[in-house]
Subunit: 237 residues, 2 copies
């Protein structure tokens, strides 16, 4: 099928990062204003090329996470997908391995570090297309948010949006922001407690804000949720 002197072509390998967090009860994504062509001045995902042929892909993702976003040790980082369509990058055939990262809410701005142009942007306008991104990064963000939405149902991913300890109502805010729905606090309380290994009490400690102090919890050992946090009647597509 192949000529005897045929040789396989080489491509440039990149990693891109969809980093999600919660700010002011809304889902945000970390974006960078590009300083160089192509797409200079446009917003884009943090990311970059593989450094050398010895660097593996998860290491490249963690390196870009630190270099471009100023984040180390995020509570969740996973591969999201491959984006390699010819023409997606005018510089040549670039195949990008997108990753999904979740950051807790506290890391306020991303100042101080090398991550100068980085800033948190609300996810809504990006998803609706009102805030177009460079390259095919708009679609990558959409795929990342969709992945996060699905994983909230069946995994303990929601705890990655919270700090080391959190209250149940903080956890509920994660679900409400990512799914963009309102949930009944009482039913949510029962459901999240009945999912075995999802969250565990964090000592007798408490915290205060406005009403009665809430118990603190930490992420439990369980990755998969039984029963899941079903949100039934939405994705009828």
């Amino acid at each position: 099928m192949a000529d005897d002197d045929w040789e396989p072509p080489s491509v440039l390998l990149a990693v891109d990062l969809v980093i999600l967090t919660l700010r002011a009860d809304r889902l945000h994504v970390l974006l960078i204003e590009r300083g160089v062509e192509p797409f200079a001045g446009a917003l884009a995902l943090p990311g970059g090329f593989l450094r050398d042929l010895r660097e593996d892909i998860p290491a490249a993702a963690r390196r870009e996470l630190a270099e471009e976003a100023g984040l180390v040790d995020v509570p969740h980082l996973e591969p999201l997908g491959v984006y390699g369509e010819p023409g997606r990058d005018p510089r040549g055939r670039v195949v990008s391995v997108a990753h999904l990262a979740i950051a807790p809410r506290l890391p306020e701005p991303t100042a101080g570090t090398d991550a100068s142009g980085a800033r948190w942007e609300p996810a809504g306008p990006v998803l609706s297309g009102r805030a177009p991104l460079a390259f095919d990064h708009g679609r990558i963000v959409a795929d990342g948010v969709e992945r996060a939405r699905r994983k909230l149902e069946h995994s303990a991913l929601a705890t990655a949006f919270c700090g080391e300890t959190f209250t149940i109502s903080e956890l509920q805010q994660v679900y409400e922001a990512v799914w963009d729905v309102r949930l009944d606090p009482r039913n949510f309380y029962r459901k999240v407690q009945s999912a075995r290994g999802f969250i565990v009490p964090a000592g007798p400690a408490r915290r205060t804000e406005n009403g009665r102090p809430a118990r603190l919890f930490t992420a439990g050992p369980q990755r998969a949720l039984h029963p899941p946090m079903a949100r039934a009647k939405d994705l009828h597509a």
Copy 2:
């Protein structure tokens, strides 16, 4: 952060295929006996390098599906993941985009075509490690089967294992083989019927085997299942 004369490295891009089907009520995967080094004589997934820089990745997957497996127009083909660890291929830095394909049960052997060394192997020994594969293909098969298992729950993927028309008990055999469980035929019947848009009656036609003839169905328009085909208490990891 980068030297001024730094240039990003190039990698070889490949596609690999996990093609699943049902044979004799057991899950099988299509494997190829390698004729050349590395891993000559070992079993491996069908796949190969990108043909040229203009070929996009889905097209490369379909091309390998035809060239190496002799299959055209499989009912399901989706990207599965990226496998690019340095050292996974002794020929150099090869990054492979794995795909998951589902074939209906009928395509008996894969004879006649260019796909000479191709044959269906039971998935069990591959998953348990008793039948090791070349490269990291054992892990890719495991990831592909895991993906199929999960998607059976929430999508209409099971119909891809069947022919154009099928009976409900044939559909049940798909679930039993992929999940490796026994299901109650009566409850399965009700559940699969109540999932809106999953399967639709295929005319008044019938088929016969041993007992009462069964109604025929075809795949419905719905991709996502409501309610899902929950198999509750399994993956406690």
